[in-house]
Subunit: 208 residues, 2 copies
Amino acid sequence: MTTARSDTIAAQISRTLANRIIAGEIEAGAKLRQDHIAEEFGASHVPVREAFRRLESQGLVVSEPRRGVRVAGFSLDEVREVAEMRAALEALALRHAAPHLTRAILDQAEEANRTGDRAGDVQAWEEANRTFHRIILTPCGMPRLLKAIDDLHTASARFLFSGWRTEWETPTDRDHRAILDALRAGQAETAASVLARHVQTIGQKSPQ
Amino acid sequence: MTTARSDTIAAQISRTLANRIIAGEIEAGAKLRQDHIAEEFGASHVPVREAFRRLESQGLVVSEPRRGVRVAGFSLDEVREVAEMRAALEALALRHAAPHLTRAILDQAEEANRTGDRAGDVQAWEEANRTFHRIILTPCGMPRLLKAIDDLHTASARFLFSGWRTEWETPTDRDHRAILDALRAGQAETAASVLARHVQTIGQKSPQ
DNA sequence: TAGCGCAGAATTATAGATAATTTCGTTATT
DNA sequence: AATAACGAAATTATCTATAATTCTGCGCTA
């Protein structure tokens, strides 16, 4: 949403396209033509190509040399894969973050959780959910890990917005509270396994 | 090594630079100037910029808007981070690969292990080691996970070639055999935890 | 002497033009 | 009627040129 105007054009295009793909405005498998996109953004195709590379590294598009890029598909298998990766990596991050979590941070997380619970639409809920996870994981101080988790989150969001999953609020809220309780009690290992199980539930609902 | 001539120039440049960074020919923190590199490769700077993006997604360089790219540093912390991520993700991959592992695949892996044991230099050893891991993990059939592991492997190789670690063969060989034994016995969970521990040892030796 | 600011140089980012490759529709052949 | 081959149109990849930004060294001031 907040497309910082100071960034490079390539970064702006990348963000805009990412949002569209996540929101489902561009369907999976659709070809992205650099000239058309360049024209739409009033830019040349060079920054568009750079934007494509960024999207590729996030796993939102796939690129074949000389044959263009297309929006990455997401079968149920791929959704499960992302969920499993998230579970493994977020658990790892939480184990390392736990020693650095202060009372204030946990309160922040609880606030984010409440915000999510009050959210009216999926976008707002997803925003709050991501904030919650970020707050409790960032203190691990492992930038590469956090970047990887963030990209996986994005992929998950795509799945969420696709409407495959309608009932999200309740179990999430309960899991989040359980995680916070365990962390407050100093039981990092418990918190990590609840988190892992929690994340995996995303991949367990089939499209209906 | 095998720079396929049919690929795009950007891909070739990316591969060559990646090899140099891994081999330590370009030191951490060094600035990469697009014009200079373009001149060296007899190309314009456009494909060079694309190559930079690929390297960035592999974590080999870091890029700041309008300030160029520089070779990613690797402190001991970063090495540990990569090792922990590898441990988590390779264990996950192995759990999913285990049901699909055949006798033939395990024999292949054992052969790769023997090759590594006979290797004279670090490059050959690393090559065999990567092959071993790839053979037992690929059957998991999770492309995104495998790509992530591969990039982490590359980062590890960089550490290895930097000479921080001189004594690598013996414990690796033993661990690899233990993993194969567990897999042959159908004990996937045991194999996964040995693998996780094995990978983490990479980050445990300090620079001397 | 230390710090500030201002050219000039170097470098990154984008635009516009060109070459190379793929895609797709049409025609010819069996 | 189905298929193979050809050619035009579309598209990707690259090059050259230009604009915008950052870096650097030097002189000036306090």
